[in-house]
C-alpha cells in the first residue's frame, strides 16, 4: 500500500544535541510537509517542499531545517533542541501544491531531556 513512513516513531535526545527525523513516501507526491504538534494543540506547519522548492513558514525558528534529497525522502533537522521542542512531528504529502488533500504519516514523538 502507498503510504507515508516516519522514522523513528519515538526519538529521545538531549538538550542541545542535534537530531534528524526522517520521512519517506511511496505515493510519488510532489509536495512534502513538516508539522509540529504539541500536546492538545493543533498541528503547526513548519515548512513544505514543492519538488525541490523550499517554502518556510514565517514564524518557523531557524533552529529547524529541512532537506529533500529526492522525491521520496524528506528530513527534519533540529540543530539545537530545547525543552520547548518536545512534540509530535508529523510529515505529510500531497499530489499538488495548494495544500490539497494531505496524507499524514504516523508521526515521530520527540522527547528532549
Amino acid at each position: 500500500d502507498a503510504m507515508v513512513i516516519q522514522n523513528p516513531r519515538y526519538q529521545v535526545t538531549q538538550f542541545g544535541k542535534p537530531v534528524t527525523l526522517s520521512c519517506s513516501q511511496t505515493l510519488n507526491h510532489n509536495v512534502m510537509y513538516w508539522y509540529q504538534q504539541k500536546s492538545s494543540q493543533a498541528p503547526k506547519l513548519l515548512f513544505h517542499y514543492y519538488d525541490k522548492d523550499f517554502n518556510n513558514e514565517a514564524d518557523t525558528p531557524d533552529n529547524f531545517q529541512s532537506r529533500r534529497p529526492n522525491t521520496s525522502f524528506c528530513f527534519l533537522d533540529i540543530r539545537s533542541p530545547g525543552l520547548g521542542d518536545a512534540a509530535m512531528y508529523l510529515c505529510a504529502t500531497s499530489r499538488n501544491p495548494g495544500h490539497n488533500e494531505q496524507f499524514f504519516g504516523p508521526g515521530t514523538r520527540l522527547t528532549v531531556l
Partner: protein
C-alpha cells in the same frame, strides 16, 4: 489577522445522537477549507475539502458545509468509532498560509 476557531472544544454524544461541529474563520481570502480526523497518537486523516460558500460534501455519516464565515461538520447517528478529534484547516491568500484550528474532541458513548 487571520483566525480559525473551532467549537465546542469537546463534545460527548450518545450513540445515534446527531450533532454538528463548528469551524468559524476570519481570513483575508479563503482558498480552501479542509476537515481532518485525528485519532490519538496518529496523524490526521483527510475528510473533505470545500472551496466556495454553498458547497457541501458527504461521506458516510459525515457532511461538511461551508458559508462565507463558517463551516459545519454534521454527524448523523454517530457510532463509537466516530470518536476522534476533528480538525478544520484553512488555506488563505495572505502569505499563502495554511493552518489548523485547535479541534473538537468528539466522544460517542455506546
Amino acid at each position: 489577522e487571520d483566525q480559525v476557531t473551532q467549537s465546542p472544544e469537546a463534545l460527548r454524544l450518545q450513540e445515534g445522537e446527531s450533532s454538528s461541529l463548528n469551524c468559524s474563520y476570519t481570513v483575508s481570502g479563503l482558498r480552501g477549507l479542509f476537515w481532518y480526523r485525528q485519532d490519538p497518537g496518529k496523524g490526521p486523516e483527510f475528510l473533505f475539502t470545500l472551496y466556495s460558500a454553498g458547497e457541501e460534501k458527504e461521506k458516510e455519516r459525515l457532511k461538511a458545509t461551508l458559508t462565507k464565515k463558517e463551516s459545519f461538520l454534521h454527524i448523523t447517528a454517530p457510532k463509537p468509532e466516530d470518536s476522534a478529534t476533528y480538525l478544520c484547516a484553512v488555506h488563505v491568500n495572505t502569505g499563502n498560509q495554511f493552518y489548523f484550528g485547535t479541534g473538537t474532541s468528539l466522544t460517542v458513548i455506546p
